[in-house]
Amino acid sequence: MTAKHNILTRVRTALGSQGEAAGRREVVEARLSGAPRGIVPQRGQLPRNERIDLFRAQAESVNATVETVGDYSELPHSVSRYLRERNLPAAIRMGDDARLGAADWLSERTLEILKGPTDGSDMAGLSHAFAAVAETGTLALTAGGDNPTTLNFLPEYHIVVIHADDVEGDMESIWDRVRTRFGKGEMSRVVNFVTGPSRSGDIEQKILLGAHGPRALHIVVVDPAKDR
């Protein structure tokens, strides 16, 4: 308690000349409740379909792979094909997300479905993103039983499903969604923004993919209007 008191007292003394606390408090409250957006780049401010195209292009430019399907029912097939093409074991781990669970996974008879968080022994994980940012090709994932955070980091291959309607132009729009979903000032325990597979430049400043997180990131966009 005294450390807090001492630090805040020093800060207040130093700021002494910069205005009385009551007036400042109003300014601070206004900023916290108003949360001004600042300068939002034009890049992502596009109509729906172009925005989805930009998302795809940006994600690919940071070494993610992207495919588009028309409906959730196509997921089991697309996941098993992805694994097969890379000679990976036919097994996928996922959380309790209802959108993922609704697909008919039994239709892929050789595919083993594992549920819950991973202990690091799974080669591939499947998550559903909360939303995505076209400006930078970024996925936003939230924590919880639906999509356990460990799936985002431990498997070598991470497949992430995103609904086309959840692709926003910019990061600021994600915060609007977070506030609608969790309440003002509240957050999912974790919000992970993921832009491409993990990498490191620590050896001679050359970028190598696959550091501690996934070596590969595959994005499946569910877009009912895909044949637009």
Binding site: R25, G144, P148, V194, S198, D202
Partner: protein
């Protein structure tokens, strides 16, 4: 780490003849400058985002007390605990108490300059708790018993054969004749060795790029994913962050993020930007059981309201050192402080006192590139100049430079004598230089001429030319 900035000159002499280091430093110029320029150039709003990022931080600093209080309240509401630490020692003890209470044997760490600043690793080791660095660069230098030589690329002073040597020396449980010639093999080996450590760790410690007052979130920005594994798999997540990391809102964070990665590595976004708020919740199958934030002052509050306040806007992107000719020539270790480069030359004397950091503000050519690229528009050269003045006033600078300046002042106040002395000296220097017109060695100026030539003065002096010019243009 032990501050050895007073030995800057002898560090420099060693660095300039260190062939491995000089080779590795080539990667700084190659690796960072073009990438930043490209990324900044590709975003038309980049310069106005810089202005806004600066404005956000200025506003936050002007109301820091209020934002700190709001932040603490939000962390507490999310089930986390905020600890306030006035000094490095206080912060270390808070970490130790948490570790002891949980009976921790090993602690994993995400990359964090603040834990370097407080010397956490040595302290934990002294108390029989093993700190395990998980960022590849940090892991490498931990194996070597070194400190980071760059704030975002800790092992930038090394070449891959050195890393191979270290891995062979330490990873003795792996087959002796494995092929480690490719950097990817080194990366995979580190990944494998560290994987188990995340699960064994009782406590995971990270820094924070931002602390969001609106939500009580801590934010880390990484490319490898090690920070996320550190804070997700440890039973306890401890965030160590200094008080100026506060930003008001999620939107404000997004604004600054746009200039951070571009300035640092030339990426639009780093791979992982993670907002964490409190410990594991009832519906969370994973995540830490406890969430602690240690808010460290360690000299920051004394910078507020002074000519060094602007330095508190720093977001630790590293652009200033990436573009610094002095850093390119000598590397980060020569600075002898946790924070190298231009930002270190300003911050180290602010945090440790100018008497201990004497030479650092002089480690500059005042070319101004650092300020030109600093996303937060921090006037680094101006602040270095302030420190130089203070150093001079406190009579801390070396006798030779004081004597030289004194001598110059004597002549400068006596213009006739000055001109006479200069017209005598110039032909002499010219003669010494010979046909090459460069001076490879100059008595009393070895510090300059050992590593670069001094162009020899040619022709008449400025005053002689000026007089001639005036005469010929007189109507």
């Amino acid at each position: 780490m032990q501050l050895t900035s007073h030995k800057f000159k002898s560090h420099v002499s060693k660095a300039l003849v260190d062939a491995q280091l000089q080779k590795a430093l080539g990667n700084v110029e190659k690796g960072f400058i073009d990438k930043r320029a490209k990324a900044a150039g590709a975003l038309p709003e980049f310069e106005s985002l810089r202005d806004n990022a600066k404005a956000i931080k200025d506003h936050t600093l002007a109301n820091l007390d209020l934002y700190l209080e709001t932040y603490e309240a939000r962390v507490t509401a999310a089930g986390g605990t905020v600890h306030w630490a006035e000094t490095a020692a206080d912060a270390r003890n808070i970490v130790l108490d948490i570790c002891k209470r949980r009976g921790a044997r090993t602690v994993t760490k995400g990359k964090s300059m603040i834990t370097e600043e407080i010397g956490l690793n040595d302290f934990l080791s002294q108390h029989d708790i093993e700190p395990v660095e998980t960022d590849l660069g940090e892991y490498i230098i931990q194996l070597r018993g070194e400190h980071p030589s760059h704030i975002i690329a800790p092992a930038v002073h090394l070449n891959k054969d050195q890393v191979e040597g270290d891995f062979r020396r330490v990873h003795t449980h792996l087959p002796e004749f494995r092929d480690l010639t490719e950097p990817t093999a080194l990366l995979s080996e580190a990944r494998e060795v560290l994987r188990q450590r995340y699960f064994e760790a009782d406590v995971g410690i990270t820094g924070a790029n931002f602390l969001v007052a609106e939500t009580g979130s801590s934010v880390i920005v990484t490319n490898e994913g090690n920070g996320d594994l550190t804070q997700t798999l440890g039973k306890v997540h401890v965030v160590v962050a200094s008080i100026e990391k506060i930003v008001p809102t999620l939107e404000d964070t997004s604004q600054i993020l746009r200039v951070l990665a571009r300035s640092a590595t030339g990426q639009d976004m780093s791979v992982y930007t993670t907002f964490s708020t409190g410990p594991k919740r009832p519906d969370d199958p994973d995540g830490p059981e406890e969430y602690h934030v240690i808010l460290l002052d360690n000299g920051r509050s004394s910078m507020l309201g002074t000519e060094y306040q602007d330095m508190l806007r720093c977001i630790r992107c590293g652009a200033c050192m990436n573009h610094c000719p002095v850093y390119h020539a000598v590397g980060g270790h020569a600075y002898g402080s946790v924070y190298p480069g231009p930002m270190g030359a300003v911050l180290t004397p602010s945090l440790n006192g100018i008497d201990k950091a004497g030479h650092l503000p002089n480690a500059s050519t005042f070319c101004g590139r650092c300020e030109a690229v600093c996303p937060m528009r921090i006037p680094l050269p101006k602040m270095m100049r302030h420190w130089r003045e203070q150093e001079f006033e406190k009579h801390l600078s070396a006798r030779a430079s004081r004597y030289g300046l004194g001598l110059w002042a004597f002549f400068a106040r006596r213009p006739k004598l000055y001109r006479a002395a200069v017209s005598l000296a110039m032909p002499l220097l010219s003669r010494l230089a010979g046909k090459r017109h460069r001076l490879g060695a100059l008595p009393l100026a070895g510090g300059w001429t050992d590593h670069r030539d001094l162009p020899a003065p040619e022709g008449p002096t400025f005053m002689q030319q000026y007089r001639k010019h005036q005469a010929s243009h007189r109507p």
